[in-house]
């Protein structure tokens, strides 16, 4: 939780500040064959919303697309990622930024 003095919020709390509408359909797809050979996994640290999480048991990337902030950094960092704008004006709607 937030502490008044230091103003440090968890990422979940930060993401909670962003207004959005989410579809039940991901706007992100991965070429998972490339992931299995990937050594660096830049997707897991380049994303400001930490949408990509490595699932060790399933040996694949878990994509929490509903947290996406639509910056595009992931698709720039890795060509296994196919990214599209969320359809019909869904996704984020900033009020204060």
């Amino acid at each position: 939780m937030a502490t008044e003095e230091t103003n440090q919020l968890s990422l979940d709390d930060k993401l909670f500040t962003v207004r959005r509408k989410t579809l039940n359909q991901s706007h992100i797809t991965l070429d998972e064959r490339l992931c299995s050979e990937c050594l660096n996994r830049i997707c897991t640290y380049v994303c400001p919303a930490e949408v990509y999480v490595w699932d060790e048991a399933a040996k694949k990337i878990d994509v929490r697309y509903e947290n996406c902030l639509e910056c595009g950094a992931c698709r720039v960092a890795c060509e296994a990622i196919e990214w599209a704008n969320p359809a019909w004006g869904t996704g984020i709607a900033y009020k204060n930024s």
Binding site: T6, N40, V46, K95
Partner: protein, 437 residues
């Protein structure tokens, strides 16, 4: 299938400025915007550099949702636990037109600007992301969009202007550039932190609508090419950091952008400025870092790129993008108006757009600072060693002790000689000057 004269993709400063000028001249222009409203998906630092805006809408700042004007500038190198900084507090900048520098929030400001373009007669359709182009004989003749109504997802036009911003997928689809590389984009994150006007005025030494722009380098993003910033809105602060994406790649224990921001906020020189505040919104956006040498092509048959989509950001000391976005949008509009009689918008006709860019500050400034980022990239000592050295020199010089100053000076000069190759430092400085700092 609907048809209009000009389709503009994206209602940011570039697209709206383009639409404004066209609509004013009576052109049938439609702007398609993916967000629920213009500004819904936009974020920047930021300072709106407003000379273009002031020409388009004289004294716009008297009615636009501007937070504050930039009365104070603060450039700082963060070094370990302290900072070395330069303050610019100019009386001249406190008078209209305030050095054309206004602090705004894009989610509010873009909406206002879009209304102005509508008043000129531009049509703006929100909630519509453009997915691709429509081609005929290798010429772009329109766009497809993801409207809810599947039958009506094509919009034809005499000419298309792509004002998509930094994450431009259409410029790739048009073949004007390769897929974006991670050296060509910076990822930045920001928090808008509420403190109230009184607290902000007191902490930053401001009154009335005076605002402050604080830019941080060196340990703002330790060992990486990036920067941090604080801008004062009226009741809130915009606090953020950005880092070139390739700088994260291959690092041991790479931080995420969010972790970098938390570290920045926790730096002993930053913490007192933000403490006690409440985070109202977290946001993320990319910044073009293409640089003059790696810019895409700006036009093809039936299409022009403007603003961030074309890579027009001058990244020397701060990110100067909105003025270039507006200027390029206006130049694209002027190019269209000049060719409107013949209705010819093939690549030959649109070459005029590039001429206009070359003769303006847009490409000239990009050219002047063409080496700046490359030098920082290849001379990592500028970020990693020299700032710390400056810090050590200053700390020893001002240290209160009974060692005579002459001895201190001697020690400093020894320290300098052992840690810097004078020749190398001189070369770096020369390179920076040539690079257009």
């Amino acid at each position: 299938m609907t048809k209009c004269e000009v389709v503009i993709v994206g209602a940011g400063p570039a697209g709206i400025a383009c639409g404004y000028v066209l609509a004013e001249a009576g052109v049938d222009v439609i702007i398609l915007e993916r967000g629920q409203y213009p500004g819904a998906k936009n974020m920047f630092g930021g300072i709106f550099f407003a000379d273009q805006m002031n020409k388009l809408i004289p004294e716009f700042y008297t009615e636009a949702p501007v937070e504050r004007f930039v009365a104070k500038k603060h450039y700082a190198l963060l070094i370990n636990d302290s900072e070395v900084s330069l303050n610019i507090d100019s009386e001249e900048h406190k008078k209209p037109p305030y050095n054309h520098s206004y602090i705004v929030r894009r989610s509010v400001f873009d909406k206002w600007f879009a209304e102005k373009a509508k008043a000129q007669g531009a049509t703006i359709i929100c909630g519509t992301a453009v997915t691709d182009f429509v081609w005929r004989d290798r010429r772009i003749i329109g766009v497809t969009a993801d409207t809810a109504d599947d039958d009506d997802n094509v919009l034809l036009a005499d000419v298309v202007v792509c004002a998509e911003g930094a994450n431009s997928m259409l410029s790739e689809k048009a073949g004007l550039r390769n897929r974006l590389s991670m050296r060509a984009r910076c990822i930045s994150v920001k928090e808008v932190i509420e403190l109230g006007k009184d607290v902000i005025d007191e902490r930053f030494g401001l009154t009335a609508r005076e605002g402050a722009a604080y830019e941080y380098f060196a340990d703002a993003t330790p060992g990486m090419l990036g920067d941090g910033f604080i801008y004062t809105n009226m009741e809130t602060l915009s606090v953020g950091v950005g880092v070139v994406i390739s700088e994260l790649y291959g690092r041991r224990n790479p931080p995420s952008p969010n972790q970098l921001l938390d570290r920045f906020k926790n730096h002993p020189c930053i913490r007192p400025l933000v403490k006690g505040g409440k985070t109202l919104e977290y946001s993320a956006h990319m910044i073009p870092m293409d640089g003059f040498r790696n810019l895409p092509r700006f036009y093809t048959d039936g299409l022009m790129l403007v603003g961030d989509a074309a890579g027009f950001v001058n990244n020397s000391i701060c990110h100067e993008g909105v003025n270039m976005a507006m200027a390029s949008g206006i130049m694209a509009a002027e190019t269209i108006l000049a060719n409107r009689q013949e209705r010819r918008y093939d690549a030959r006709a649109l070459r005029q757009y590039e001429h206009r860019l070359k003769n303006s500050f847009v490409l000239q400034n990009m050219k002047n600072s063409r080496d700046f980022i490359d030098i920082l990239r290849t001379h990592k000592e500028l970020l990693n060693n020299y700032p710390h050295l400056v810090q050590d020199v200053i700390t020893s010089y001002f240290k209160v002790s009974d060692v005579p100053k002459s001895t201190v000076k001697r020690d400093i000069s020894r320290m300098l000689r052992s840690r810097v190759s004078v020749v190398k430092a001189a070369r770096t400085v020369m390179a920076l000057m040539r690079g257009g700092i």
